[in-house]
Symmetry: C2
Subunit: 361 residues, 2 copies
């Protein structure tokens, strides 16, 4: 009994190692165990596993290997004398193997861009992308819209609502339409406003909101040709564009997660409620990955937020031209079908990039 707790007895050679490279066989077995667990959701035991996967090994040997993998931190037992389930590290190993063999140039997904094509309104596109992600993956789909700051202005128009209230409309190359009411302290006529509109469109067109706010306004004000009229036009534009900095987050398909028994399991449910309640959590996580290249996977604790546990996130940035502007992703349980979700997210990211790039010509 006390000897039990001491170590492996005969297998003392690898006794207490906690870090080493897995050999071919161990690697294959670990991946199969994770795969099996993802499929069944039940702790994987030696006997049935050996049988199901037709390893030419006895259960006893399998147990020894599992023991090693546990020692190395890839597996764990929910309780003594249960089978093994993957740890975050185990999932990570599995996912890395997956990504190594993953040919991102080939997808036989059944999505095609038609889904998006018919939507001309940009915010409708965001909705249908998240919806599609959640429907195909059967988990929750998320999308972080581009920061308006990064989109390039195409046109500014000011129209009069009241004698001292105007509506500023800014259209971006991607077709996003920003509108904002501005209250003026002086009275202006619609004709003057039309003048301002032309002036502003001429000066601001082709620059991103970011650039405009950072420097263009300053340059314009410094211009010697400047007049009080132009000053006023700039004032209006500056007021209107001041608060356009936020990108928005879209989440769809939470109901899919509620259909997964292990997510509703009391302790995990809270994670879910937090995600629904505070979308900002997900938002800030996605924001970190806008700038990174290619697909990223966060497993369990790797989502570095104590309010979200037992979840994984597969995410991909998307670009307009060469500039990464936003990110999409799928949220599911740690025990997620990565093999299916990874290509989905990867492909969708590329499709969105292509679409937005084309839209902004």
């Amino acid at each position: 009994m006390s000897a039990n707790k001491q170590g492996r007895g005969l297998r003392v050679p690898n006794g207490f190692e906690t870090e080493r490279i897995l050999d071919e066989r161990e690697s294959a077995i670990l991946n199969s165990i994770v795969y099996e667990y993802i499929e069944t959701g039940k702790a994987v035991g030696s006997r049935s596993f050996v049988q199901k996967y037709s390893f030419s090994l006895s259960p006893a040997t399998m147990r020894n290997i599992m023991y090693d993998l546990e020692r190395l931190g890839y597996l764990m037992q929910p309780h003594t004398s249960a089978g093994r389930i993957p740890t975050d590290k185990g999932y990570r190993y599995y996912v890395n193997s997956l990504l190594e063999n993953y040919d991102s140039s080939f997808h036989d997904m059944e999505i095609d861009e038609k889904i998006f094509q018919k939507e001309l309104q940009l915010d409708k596109i965001f909705e249908s992308v998240t919806r599609m992600l959640s429907m195909v993956s059967r988990y929750a789909g998320v999308m972080l819209s581009p920061k308006p700051d990064f989109t390039v202005l195409k046109l500014v128009e000011i129209i009069q609502l009241e004698s001292s209230e105007v509506l500023v409309i800014a259209v971006t190359r991607t077709g996003m339409i920003l509108t904002r009411k501005v209250t003026l302290s002086v009275r202006v006529t619609q004709d003057e406003l039309s003048e301002y509109s032309k002036y502003l469109t001429g000066e601001l067109c082709g620059y991103s909101l970011q650039e405009i706010k950072d420097s263009i306004f300053g340059e314009l004000r410094g211009d010697r040709k400047s007049s009080t009229n132009r000053e006023l036009a700039i004032d209006i534009a500056q007021l209107a564009l001041a608060e356009t900095g936020e990108s928005s987050i879209n989440i769809d398909g939470i109901e899919n997660l509620l259909r997964i028994p292990e997510m509703v399991e009391e302790s995990r449910l809270n994670s879910l409620l937090n995600i629904i309640e505070e979308k900002n959590i997900i938002k800030s996580i996605l924001e970190k990955h806008v700038e990174s290249e290619g697909i990223k996977i966060l497993i369990g604790e790797e989502i570095d937020n104590e309010k979200v546990t037992g979840c994984s996130l597969v995410t991909s940035p998307y670009k307009i031209g060469n500039k990464p502007v936003g990110a999409i992703g799928v949220i599911g349980p740690t025990r997620m079908d990565y093999e299916k979700v990874v290509p989905l997210v990867d492909y969708t990211g590329k499709a969105v990039s292509g679409l937005l790039t084309r839209m902004s010509k």
Copy 2:
């Protein structure tokens, strides 16, 4: 034993009646039972109930009364030898009593309009109303936005995007801003478009979208002063305003419902998922109540939709001026704290009406 099933024995006088008016005492007791059940969520038994509410009655008498109330359809037993819980009819009786004594002119709710005031953008108002409803009630808040069709146009502006693509902007009195891209088959200049804008604003201002679509366009086309230019302007407006018919539904606070044990209880969970998944269910229910006056309460089966069970809906329409245009509401379990929710919904409905009316001047 067999006599048990036959009737009341000594109480034969009321033996098999299924419909009659409750006397004072029965009424008070029924209401107290429903109240007690709403508070505790546990079947109400005669002994503890008599004690807690200090009725000067013995448990046995209470049992007789409960027996009668059950016969009359107000109460039921989850199983033999359990206490009683209200049926839908029981809740209905309770709620009716509540509404009889309800003075809608007095609220000591702690909400004031400041919450909405700072929001100028209309769609932000919808969001903050639903959020507020869900936060105060601790259930789910819903809001049906006005059908754009009912809102009155204030201004139309057309601006050029490409040589053959224009953006039509319509501003309503309530401050809603509708934008829609229209592709033309002919080329026009911005100057012409400005002309069109003035013409359209002059002709359409003051009419609701509904009126405009139904008759104004027709009248304008019939006008003898009509010209090809004006025809084109009308074409553009008609295209742009064609598809603005839908009101949208906002739901917030589903997470509150997930926190209620009885809602997550397997069988009920599906109701919830349906609500999340198909917002149209709720939408069509609310739409039925836009035109009705004052607060409406739907209890359990009264929500006539087989996909939603075990839920109640408290709803109130809201108006712009005298015209009912939308509805707000709270969704919760049948066992809902009606006493708190009714004034909340009532008051909020009035506040929203006031705000929107003022906004549209």
